[in-house]
Amino acid sequence: MIEASLHRIHLPRGTVVSVQVGAEIRPDEVIGMRRGAMAPVRVPVTRPLRRQPAEIEELLVVRPGERVEAEQPLALVEGAGVVLAPVAGLVLAASGRDGTLLLAPLAAEETVIGHVRGRVRAVEEGSLVIEVPAARLHGVGGSGEAVHGELVVGVPNPGDELRAGAIDAGATGKILVGGSRASAETLTRARAMGVAGIVLGGVLHKELRDFEAIQRRRREAGGMTGAFGILLVEGFGKVGIDPQLFSWFRAHAGRVASLFGADGLLYVYDAAPLPSRRALAKVGDRVIAHRRPFQGRGGVLVGLMEDLHAAQSGIPTRMALVRFEDGRLAPVPLANIEATVVAEGR
């Protein structure tokens, strides 16, 4: 049985929440409505009222920061006239130089989606707190937006690289579990094919930066559609997903998941508990190493060395002896390994 965890959805300012505390929500459910701002327009104020530009602040009946509706008075002079808002918008500034008001018209109403399944626990200023009954995986990094979709495993082995050629139309709208790495080209293709998100063991910093730069340029040029998120599970570089975790993903292919790229979070619904990690490994534990030269490799902790020993770098530290899966026995700083624990009952 999975324990529910609390998830906070950050709401952009101006969002009008449409769900109440206690409501059950689905990942694709609208939780609020919001009107963003468009490119501001200058509304002449002093000229129609036949006043000097420097007098603008005395004439205004609204202040910067205020939201106004169409036809709402912006400025008036008793007996001389009134200036009305041409559109609904946000008042940004008044210029004493040219006597105009800077008004950002409100865009059409757009929906805000939570991308998560659960029960609304609280509605706070700027956020919604949701109780999410799902397996929760906190990665070491990520990128991109919140997405949801069905889990699909995209590589045969946890150490394999996710290739661009492996992504086809069948992955559209899905969250793809890759292996040890994906190039910027693969990530770009995945997004172009409508993949919702990708879970990777590792990725090269440069590949991720290149991909993000491509997305930024596309966004600036316009025409980018659909959200896309990336979750990084183990580390940076070519790092395979822990085989136990990979098996868990395989067993849960087809389940719905929510991926929060920027937060490095994944929820998988209707799932068995994830293999967990324990920071301090004990003799006999199955462990995974997190730093080079063994980064991403699994093994068994066969012994702890007494006293402090110098790592190759010269740092004196507590060392563990690990029998890696390839048969090699190596001393590894205890701080650089974690025990991987399969949940009971599996």
Binding site: G36, K206, F236, A279, H290, F294, Q295, A311, Q312, T317
Partner: protein
Amino acid sequence: MTTEARSLEVGRATSELSLLVDIGSAWTKAAVVGRALGRWRIAAHAAQPSAWDEAELIATLAARLAGRADPRVSARIASLLADAPRIAVHTPARPGRIALAAVSSELSGQAARRAAEAAGWVVVEAVTVDDGRPVVDRLSALQSAEVDAWLIAGGFDEEGGEGALEVAGLVAAARGGGKSPVVWAGSAGLTERVGAFFEPGVLRAVANPRPSADRENLLPLRRYLDGLIERLVERGAARQLAPIGFGRAVAELARASHLRVVGVDLGARYATWASADENGMAESRVVALGGLASPTLTAPGGPARIARGLPLAIDELAVADALQNLRARPGSIPQTDEELAVVHGAARDLLADLAANGPQPQGVDLLIGSGRTIGSAPLPAQAMQLLLDGIRPIGIVQVAIDPAGALGPLGALRDDEIVEGLGTLRDDLLTPLGAAVVCRGGRPGHLSMRVTVHRVGWRSLGPIEVRPGQLEVVPLPRGQVAELEIELDPAVSLSAPRRARRLRASVTGGAVGVVLDARDAPLLLPRRSDDRRTVLSAWRDTFLREVRPPAEGAA
């Protein structure tokens, strides 16, 4: 120092112990303070990832004490440690998040950002009139920002300025009501008009950090933001915050020793710079994302910058991945030489940044390095090189490290207790690395300095000639005092009040000795990568090689 009163059992040995604990975001450091031969000493210290449980820390400390503790209590040492009173500090649970809107990125924006970052805030979004973005993008960015407070800056005090009113209007529109406070740190003449944009009681006006084009006045804003972060993010118990404790301990150390002291604490998330004069008048800067997990290291240009400063040939891509892994798993340790080189490169970069964004460290008597990377460097010489390369403290300075991470917890004591704590533990608190003579300037082909080391009771060393770009390490053991006779080239400066060409100074030795450093400030490096690595390797080797005394001069 606070200790727990214990009931005495007949025939049973008792102990007086307390623990100094610094719970960092990545590592927890603990020191056992116990009584030995009538004196309070740091009997053992240990560090472990903060994710490990406390029982492990106690077991490690007990193991370190085993064999050294009185046999009558050694069997009970773990339980005694577990029950011992403790003085603990911790890294703030989360940094304060602030959105900044300013007129100019170079002037008002830069000044306000530095003040906010020095007070421990993270600027999660910054918009300026000259940032090249359309107004609607600035508005949208501010609307999306998740913040605890807003900071608006701009306009010189004498001039006012419409740009400042525009950014204030933008914040008012983006904020859209709510409880988050707004700080106005712009033109004094605009305060009333800006105040009208917000609900009553929301805006707080603080002195302009950039009152004119040629003047900066960051202190009032920084102090206000210091208080605001305490009120909004870490309510109460500010003394228990590691950066605050560290600053208080440095100030007290300066007051008690009548020295000008600079302390730097480089952690995983936070970097703290504390400087204090002989009277204990202190200034600290706390940079919330200034530690080794800082995103600035992996921002575009960061990995390349760090790779350029490494003595090993490690390509930029590998450096970038290593930095990201350091950020992703700050509780792990560099296992290979290459990873250690990258971590030390990152530490130097962060220290240089910390030093550059505040008053220059000139005329410092004592420089203290703290934090796991510095305090637990594999060799004392590496810690010395990190501090000198990063901070470039021009002048004659004693250098020490805080290996047990005890300064932060001691700073959490009450004022009168800090004095007592520092005095009681004075012999164990800091590990002296030695002294450094760091000069700026120099002419190619000329000597930068000629130094003779007169050691009490030993033959004098030198004169040692140091050319521009060179450094020399002279052995001087811990506790040994020497008189340096320094002759400077006219083009070289030690930042002395007057540009004396000959001076004498008294220094004390340490684990490294006396470093004569004529590498200029900032460090000048060749452009060609091979040449640069040759120079960097030579510097590293000078620090690391077993120090041999140069030719002895006349007694």
